[in-house]
Symmetry: C2
Subunit: 214 residues, 2 copies
DNA sequence: ACCTGAACACCGTTCAAGT
DNA sequence: ACCTGAACACCGTTCAAGT
């Protein structure tokens, strides 16, 4: 007699956001539809709207969820160590949730975790004696590097995903691209190579540059 | 008697791509639908598919179109000047077409202009005497910085777009974010401030770091 | 060869209705 | 208060058909 409807009060904003993150992680952002999300939560599509205003608000929450995983700087420690650790933590979070970069570009409303994270980073730099101008440059430059590095890692994952099993890059005339060919065969395909190793190198350059701003 | 159908042979792959770029530039990426694109070209939706395999292939073409606007490095000039000029050109192209960053992350097939641009940059660095390892680091780091900086500029544009006319940031408790408040009032809102000024600063840091790799 | 019409399996979202 | 059903205005894309 009773319907198969989900029991009441099982849904919450947090459960909706967590399920959305899981869906985007496993199946990719395009698969994150309100309807698929409802199915994953064993609920009808319209139930979602009782906990989230609309899809845009859901995406805002997803980005803030990612930022909630990023290390918050403490202002009473050495700035170089703190800023570097936050950068590594941000990169790791963006690697875990590659769709976050795509979303960030179009977000209009930064969430509380995002704001708190930025506040702490600014506080660290200011407390460490950087002027407002130096703080602005420093923060813009580290974050640019981290976002861009994570973006490149996401792009590399896509290209590798598309590669034909035997052939390195399908249908591309490598003879017209001798430097890329050299690079692939003599460097990238060698045993110890890892793109990620450039992260510490670049981060070091940026932190050195910031130190010179002080 | 005659129908209002568009005359034949007016459509071409280039016209389709150009119209798609224009649509994304003016109305944003979400507005770029096959159906809207067809309308803009005064044609029925299915006509598009005669010049582009599917929407995914169209997006691939859009990204390559953007890369075709980026300065190609020449290997016979001073590397620092050449790499810096390419970086500035890449940033400018990404500013003109902010949707390109979003698309790049999910592309599986780099186009010919993209590949040629990378080839020239690698050739410049190798010709200038950088080892394969140093070239890998150098290229990863400059591009990370440029992509990330452009991403931040795109994010800033979104936030500014959403701001209530009078109020700086709507509904955010600035008293809990004293450093952001200080930053906004004492720095960002001052006459000469421009976020973009951090680009040259960061680029300088990165190029200095790369010089130290040689 | 190039373009179209009709159809299919999807979307996000509103609105009125159930409990 | 919380969830649902039906409906609306959209999507990308296939397939058969026109010229």
């Amino acid at each position: 007699m009773s319907s198969d409807r989900a029991p009441r009060n099982t849904l919450s904003r947090d459960r909706v956001v967590a399920a959305a993150v899981a869906l985007a992680d496993t199946d990719g952002l395009p698969s994150l539809t309100i309807r698929a999300l409802a199915t994953a939560l064993a609920v009808k599509p319209m139930a979602i709207y009782h906990h989230v205003r609309n899809k845009e608000a859901l995406l805002d929450a997803l980005v803030d969820h990612v930022f909630s995983q990023v290390r918050v700087c403490r202002a009473d420690a050495e700035w170089r160590q703190e800023l570097g650790a936050r950068a590594a933590s941000l990169r790791a979070a963006l690697n875990r949730h590659p769709w976050a970069l795509t979303l960030m570009e179009a977000r209009k409303n930064p969430g509380p975790a995002t704001l708190a994270n930025h506040e702490a980073a600014l506080d660290l730099l200011r407390t460490s004696g950087f002027s407002l101008a130096a703080t602005a440059h420093a923060y813009a430059v580290v974050d640019a590097f981290v976002y861009g590095f994570a973006l490149q890692e996401a792009m590399l994952d896509q290209v590798e995903l598309a590669e034909a099993p035997g052939d390195l890059i399908e249908g591309i005339d490598m003879s017209a691209l001798p430097r890329m060919a050299e690079f692939a065969t003599q460097h990238v395909m060698r045993p110890g190579y890892s793109f990620g190793d450039s992260f510490e190198v670049g981060l070091g350059m940026v932190l050195d540059g910031i130190a010179a701003l002080a």
